[in-house]
């Protein structure tokens, strides 16, 4: 097992009270596997990833419980500098906004090379050569010349490739990509996703893909965890979930997106809004918006029921949800 997150809880202390951003999340990622974490803003999908990477802002954030096992070691028990050494070499992250994730006053060559000079103690010259090699890897044309350029001289797609190159530099076992293509145009998005998937296969890395885009998920994921209000509400292999979702929220999401191949009359819309994380409703957090909600949903928080050997759903009425 490459990564196992167990019963993770994260809180934020805000002016309006304690926001429970992550409430008991469990997931696992194996080498060579792609886990898509799907959710809307405020679902806790990015916060979970930041906790795994150890880049959560503490305070206001606080890890209130749980374990993060990376190759069997609990990261939460590591000393800060041990964890820091793991970042980059053990696990790496790709951010949505490459322009703000790259340092504008350093050339991309310097930033890529820094990975090698700092972590591997290479000389500047060797590091520069490595940087060119990496840029070739992520198929940036004319890498030898462009290595001397600054981030703003690259297009959005090329910058995202540089981010990927940076994440790959030390050949980590796990990559966390947080909305890596959301800011990109469709045609460029396809290029970047393809590249990422290919490199993942080549290096046999684990990939956690955090996204809100059901289309991107269907394209690359092996399994999916759907998050809502800080909890995983459904987890399943990718094919199953699109065929027959076992949670009303997943079903609502799938039905609320317009289709490219047909023209609908009216879109199904999940009523209402996601809850405020400082006041998550009792029982099932989705109950105020759920078409299947009964009394029990307002009082008892549903556990992750076993739908099949590989599927779980946090709905008291998952069988009903499954029938649609």
């Amino acid at each position: 097992m490459l990564l196992e997150v167990r019963d993770l809880h994260v809180e934020f202390h805000t002016r309006d009270g304690v926001a429970k951003a992550v409430n008991g999340v469990n997931y696992t990622v194996e080498a060579g596997e792609t886990l898509a974490v799907l959710g809307e803003s405020g679902s806790g999908k990015s916060v979970t990833a930041q906790a795994v990477m150890g880049i959560l802002d503490i305070p206001p954030g606080k890890i209130a419980g749980g374990e993060i096992l990376f190759k069997g070691r609990d990261l939460l028990k590591l000393k800060e500098d041990e964890w820091r050494k793991l970042r980059g070499s053990g696990m790496a992250m790709i951010f949505q906004d490459a322009l703000s994730a790259l340092n504008p006053v350093l050339t991309v060559g310097d930033q890529l090379g820094e990975m090698f000079t700092v972590h591997r103690g290479m000389s500047r010259k060797d590091a520069r050569a490595k940087a060119v090699e990496l840029m070739d890897r992520v198929r940036i044309p004319a890498a030898r010349e462009r290595v001397r350029q600054y981030p703003h001289q690259f297009s959005g797609g090329m910058r995202q490739r540089i981010m990927i190159a940076m994440a790959l530099a030390l050949e980590p076992d796990l990559i966390i990509a947080d909305e890596p293509t959301t800011a990109l145009d469709v045609t460029v998005q396809a290029q970047v996703m393809e590249l990422l998937a290919e490199l993942q296969r080549e290096y046999n890395m684990g990939l956690i893909l955090i996204t809100h885009d059901l289309g991107v998920v269907a394209d690359v994921a092996d399994k999916i965890a759907v998050m809502y209000a800080g909890r995983i509400v459904e987890t399943a292999p990718v094919h199953d979930i699109y065929k027959a979702p076992a949670h009303p929220y997943t079903r609502g999401l799938l039905e609320s997106i317009p289709r490219l191949d047909q023209k609908g009359q009216e879109l199904y819309a999940i009523k209402g809004l996601p809850p405020n994380l400082t006041r998550i409703p009792p029982g099932c957090a989705f109950n105020p918006r759920c078409p299947l909600a009964r009394d029990v949903c307002r009082t008892d928080e549903p556990p992750l029921y076993e739908v099949s050997r590989t599927r779980r759903s946090a709905c008291h009425f998952w069988e009903e949800a499954l029938r649609g």
């Binding site: 803003s41 990015s46 809850p275 405020n276 400082t278």
Partner: protein, 315 residues
């Protein structure tokens, strides 16, 4: 989802702005009506809990009080002097002692507040009005106006304050506070106009200004209703902080002999006249200088607190 990046990597941050969804029942959260809070009342809510604001605010209220009614806490007249008591120290009824002319230092410090506070407030008002009018105009209409006004502002910005004061004010003979205020406005407006210009340009680019334009709103409506209320916060912050520095500047100019002139009572004049005797009679210098330092500090602290409360990045 927000690809435009409201919450950035931390998508949880979205919830900060969604204080209303307390009851997500019903299609659009028909929760119990909550008392609406504007951004100003939000800022006030913050300020009331800020000790820096409370302390500086109390000091400033006190200063304003004694500027209006100095006789409430000082019985004598600042011009009632007795040369035989010159340079004497503290004694009953005269806690701060006497100055070189034998005037009561306590009374002079109290009456000096009026001069300092009125110079500070009037100069700041003048600077803020002129600066934000010119800066706002340049920022809103842009192009040639902007280029021309910015160059003019640069010229005034380049004049060294003390040197300018020595040259310009030395030809003035009036003993009122107006020449000094006029000088401060003349040299101070570019600072505010730059801030105002910048924040008008920022506010102008917001879609709500475009929306108003698309509705057919006139320039004056866009400027007064949409841009000014959203651009005024930085101007207020800078002006509050500047108020303290104008008070200090008045003292500096008076010290150099080109600012206010006797019989006007001012801390700067007293500091100036006391400085030759600082070895023998330090109290003559310390009390007005201390009052000046506390006043300047109070305004700067107030400006800081106001900035913290109005800064949207901290919300």
């Amino acid at each position: 989802m927000a690809p435009t990046g409201q919450g950035g990597a931390m998508d949880f941050a979205m919830d900060e702005s969604e204080t209303l969804e307390k009851t997500p029942d019903g299609p659009e959260g028909t929760g119990p009506a909550e008392k609406p809070r504007s951004l100003w009342s939000d800022a006030w809510h913050d300020l009331r809990r800020n000790p820096v604001f409370i302390i500086s605010g109390l000091i400033i209220l006190f200063l304003i009080f004694i500027s209006l009614w100095p006789s409430a806490i000082a019985s004598g007249s600042p011009l009632d002097c007795d040369l035989s008591k010159a340079q004497q120290g503290s004694q009953p009824g005269h806690p701060f002692g006497f100055n070189g002319q034998g005037c009561d230092v306590y009374t002079r410090v109290v009456y000096g507040a009026r001069t300092s506070v009125s110079v500070g407030i009037l100069a700041t008002l003048g600077v803020a009005l002129l600066g934000s009018a010119l800066g706002g105009f340049a920022g809103f209409f842009g192009r040639g106006w902007d280029a021309a006004l910015s160059r003019v502002a640069d010229i005034f910005f380049g004049i060294p304050v003390v040197l300018g004061g020595l040259v310009l004010l030395s030809v003035v003979t009036s003993s009122t506070i107006w020449p000094v205020i006029g000088f401060m406005v003349l040299l101070g407006w570019p600072q505010i106009s730059r801030i105002a210009r910048g924040s008008v340009i920022t506010a102008k680019q917001n879609d709500y200004v475009q929306a108003a334009r698309a509705l057919g709103a006139s320039s004056s409506r866009m400027l007064l209703r949409h841009i000014a209320p959203n651009a005024v916060a930085p101007v207020i912050v800078v002006a509050t902080i500047a108020l303290g520095t104008y008070i200090a500047l008045e003292a500096t100019l008076s010290y150099l002999g080109v600012g206010l002139k006797p019989p006007t009572v001012s801390w700067g004049i007293d500091i100036s006249s006391a400085s030759p005797y600082v070895r023998n009679a330090p109290h003559m210098l310390l009390w007005p200088a201390g009052a000046l330092a506390i006043t300047v500090l109070a305004f700067i602290m107030l400006g800081d607190a106001v900035r913290d409360a109005l800064d949207p990045k901290l919300r």
